[in-house]
């Protein structure tokens, strides 16, 4: 029997809990009464506001301009008027300016014309990706045009599409692959042209067998040179380092990028957004978000404009069926818990979870059991880092590869002493950087 590929070091197996929303087809959210479009929806410098209070905006119009190399444009999801510009706190605790937009009663229809991307060359495609404000939609929101700008001295042979969605609960990518698979794969072909990759590979975990079959069918029908690879379930396979190890058996060294091993990785949702940006000329102003968890009355996958308030999403899904203990933006392993339901969603919001009360554990002393070491996909020693950081030895922690930690949460997930490991790593990184 052929071995099902996965990454080799560490990883954990949480229940996938996708059952709540996996069978719910993508539904479009009715236009909310107000949108809060933040200017920092991406990794890097916040965008610069192009509009002022009282201005009217058109659907898809650029309202924030990239400032700096790693930054991205922001577009208005609706036609309407700007009520005010105010400071908001996003779910991930980032504070930034945001437009509060009141949509018009009547919204323009989406344009029907399509563009033949084959006739455009790589740099034209790249500049329209930049203009459309595309960012990585798996959660990290890294500006796509920066990622796809390949330096002259680097060569890319493979473009890997991330359809893993290894976070429990989330089903947005799953629904995109099922319902918009053609678009996403065509988007992947566009990226392959930009980065000049010879191979295009889509990685999907084996808990989505219907996706694998569906994508394989599309590939066969359209004759794309795309490989679809089923991967053994393991968290955090959706991380680009683990994904490249699983699919290409290449390890990205500390502090390096996929580029350094000749590969580019993009989320399947990003590929879909790229298709829409290039072929349909639609900037990135809406996305699919899974609203799910045991406390949501009707879990759904919602196509919602960027800037929708979480409360609107909750209302659309019937509110809470029971009192939630936590609201989380993103997945349960790396997502951010927040308390204000007026918080807006951003380009990177892949999920809105309402989780019920969980068993409370009391922390005990570290037992040195080694589960964190065995679970760490980067093979760090979280227990050791924890000891250094809690004793204030930040420099020692930095020398013990603290900066390689990507906060995936495997260590804290398995820790029988229930120590706040990820929390400590985050604190340690901040304080360690400050000291330097």
């Amino acid at each position: 029997m052929q071995r099902i590929p996965t990454f080799s070091k560490g990883g954990v197996h949480p229940d996938d809990r996708k059952v709540y929303s996996r069978s719910a087809a993508i539904e479009r959210l009715p236009m909310p009464s107000e949108l809060i479009v933040a200017l920092s929806q991406h990794l890097g410098a916040p965008a610069k506001a192009l509009k002022a209070k009282g201005d009217t905006v058109m659907k898809g119009e650029k309202i924030g301009e990239a400032s700096g190399f790693i930054s991205s444009d922001v577009h208005s999801p609706v036609s309407g008027s700007i009520k005010e510009i105010r400071k908001v706190t996003l779910a991930n605790s980032v504070q930034c300016d945001a437009f509060v937009i009141v949509p018009d009663e009547v919204q323009p229809a989406d344009p029907e014309e399509t563009v033949d991307w084959q006739s455009l060359d790589g740099s034209e495609l790249l500049s329209s990706i930049k203009d459309m404000g595309i960012v990585g939609m798996g959660g990290a929101t890294f500006p796509a045009h920066v990622k796809f700008s390949i330096p002259k001295d680097k060569k890319v042979d493979s473009f890997v599409v991330n359809g893993v969605e290894c976070e429990p609960y989330l089903t947005a990518d799953y629904r995109i692959m099922l319902e918009k698979g053609e678009q996403a794969l065509e988007g992947a072909m566009i990226v392959a042209k930009i980065v000049k990759a010879e191979r295009v590979i889509v990685g999907v975990e084996m808990n989505k067998p219907d996706c694998i079959d569906h994508l394989k069918e599309i590939v066969k029908e359209k004759g794309y040179p795309i490989e679809i690879v089923g991967l053994k379930m393991k968290y955090p396979q959706g991380d680009e380092k683990q994904l490249l190890k699983a699919i290409l058996n290449r390890e990205i060294p500390s502090g390096k990028l996929p580029l350094d091993v000749g590969a580019v990785v993009s989320n399947v949702g990003t590929c879909n957004a790229i298709y829409e940006a290039i072929v349909l000329k639609k900037s990135l102003y809406e996305r699919v978000i899974s609203v799910t968890g045991e406390c949501i009355a009707n879990p759904k996958n919602v196509l919602a404009p960027v800037g929708t308030k979480m409360s609107d999403l909750l209302d659309f899904c019937g509110g809470f069926s029971k009192e939630p203990e936590k609201l989380i933006s993103g997945g349960p392993m790396m997502g951010f818990s927040f308390f204000d339901t007026e918080t807006p969603m951003t380009k990177g919001s892949s999920g809105l979870l309402a989780l019920g009360a969980q068993k409370k554990y009391r922390s005990t002393a570290c037992l040195n059991c080694g589960r964190c070491v065995a679970a760490c996909p980067i093979a760090l020693m979280p227990a050791k880092l924890y000891r250094y950081i809690s004793n204030g030895e930040y420099e020692e922690a930095m020398n013990t590869s603290l900066m390689d930690c990507k906060e995936c949460g495997c260590c804290a997930y398995v820790c029988p002493a229930h120590l706040p490991l990820v929390h400590t790593m985050k604190t340690g990184k901040k304080l360690g950087r400050k000291k330097k």
Binding site: P168, P324, P332, L367, Y413
Partner: protein, 364 residues
């Protein structure tokens, strides 16, 4: 919509089920077959020994918890320490000995260094070694198991097979391997073992040590019962194979190669199987060396640690003067644990040979 009371905390928001207490109680459960066998073959007296050591350990933990305002009684670690202390006692010891051993284990070995997670030595082993060297005679006189009671003369029953053969070898009886030596001295075997021996060709004595029909400490005699507990822990993923398998194999292989030398059998004259089954090796390898707190944190480090345990066990057994091979070896390697953890670290993701080579070239 009513505003619910929401919790805000760092990710991850999901958690595996295990916690400290469930692990400790599972290990105690895994020790149950071996302790029950001990109580069965050595009688009520051994139950008393176990009871005294467990109660003392719990009481000590309770008092220290009061003192330090840390309530750690129900995390199960004190119960486990007490149980292990009791299992490491001869069934016939005066009851003040397990009492002292447990007090030493909890007070000195565990809490003096800061309680759970901070001790450098395995508390149960430290307790055992402390009383062994303080009260050597009562600690090294044993009674015959029920299954051999009528056949085993008192002279032979008062010592473990390992110390009997050690005494004989140092007394000049050469030319026999362990089990042959004991048979020549008149060490009996159960009928079951003799039947199995006829079927398999393995000596009856070895089979008896495997099943637990020998004199010894309450918890160490039955390799079979300990193995059952060990398999349970492996299945529950509470321990990994790294320490027990490496420890057992390294001891057995070294014993097989060099173990025959003291008794005049030369190289490759030692006995592979009986070296695994006899003495406290099984108990030590599965339950004592695998103690989380006092063993290395990475799998690589654990293998080094277990190799050290195996080497010292072999050395003390065949070339040492005292019969305390397993406990002393593990304690000795406990001392090395912080050092192993400092220098033997897992290879970081991406730190491949090719990458290192490239870096070297870049520097040159």
């Amino acid at each position: 919509m009513n505003k619910p009371t929401l919790t805000v905390s760092s990710s991850p928001h999901l958690h595996a089920k295990a916690d400290t207490a469930s692990i400790m109680w599972s290990v105690s459960l895994a020790l149950a077959p071996a302790s029950l066998w001990g109580v069965y073959v050595f009688g009520f007296r051994s139950l008393l020994v176990l009871g005294v050591s467990i109660l003392t350990a719990l009481l000590s933990e309770y008092l220290l918890g009061k003192l330090y305002k840390e309530y750690t009684l129900w995390d199960g670690s004190a119960f486990l320490t007490g149980l292990l202390v009791g299992m490491n006692m001869s069934p016939s010891v005066p009851l003040f000995i397990p009492f002292l051993a447990s007090v030493f284990a909890i007070f000195v070995a565990k809490w003096v260094f800061g309680g759970l997670g901070a001790n450098w030595a395995n508390p149960a082993l430290a307790g055992r070694v402390f009383v062994f060297f303080s009260f050597t005679t009562p600690m090294s006189s044993y009674v015959a198991p029920r299954t051999l009671a009528s056949a085993l003369p008192d002279a032979l029953a008062s010592a473990t097979p390992l110390s009997l053969s050690k005494t004989a070898v140092s007394g000049g009886t050469l030319g026999f391997d362990g089990s042959a030596l004991l048979s020549s001295m008149g060490y009996p075997a159960t009928d079951l073992a003799q039947n199995l021996s006829a079927m398999t060709g393995i000596s009856a004595f070895t089979i008896d040590t495997f099943l637990g029909n020998v004199a010894g400490c309450i918890g160490e005699v039955s390799a079979l019962a300990l193995l059952i507990g060990g398999l349970y822990l492996l299945a529950r993923k509470i321990i990994t194979w790294h320490i027990p398998v490496t420890y057992l194999l390294s001891t057995a292989i070294l014993s097989w190669i060099f173990g025959g030398i003291p008794s005049g059998l030369g190289m490759f004259g030692g006995s592979f199987l009986s070296s695994i089954f006899s003495g406290g090796l099984m108990l030590g390898a599965i339950f004592m060396a695998t103690d989380y707190v006092t063993s290395p944190i990475s799998h690589k480090g654990q293998i080094v640690f277990a190799l050290g345990c195996g080497f010292f066990t072999f050395l003390f057994r065949y070339f040492g003067s005292m019969p305390e091979a397993v406990s002393v070896s593990i304690l000795l390697m406990n001392i090395f644990t912080p050092m192993i953890d400092r220098y033997i670290i897992p290879r970081k993701f991406g730190d491949t040979r090719a990458f290192r080579k490239k870096q070297k070239e870049a520097r040159a």
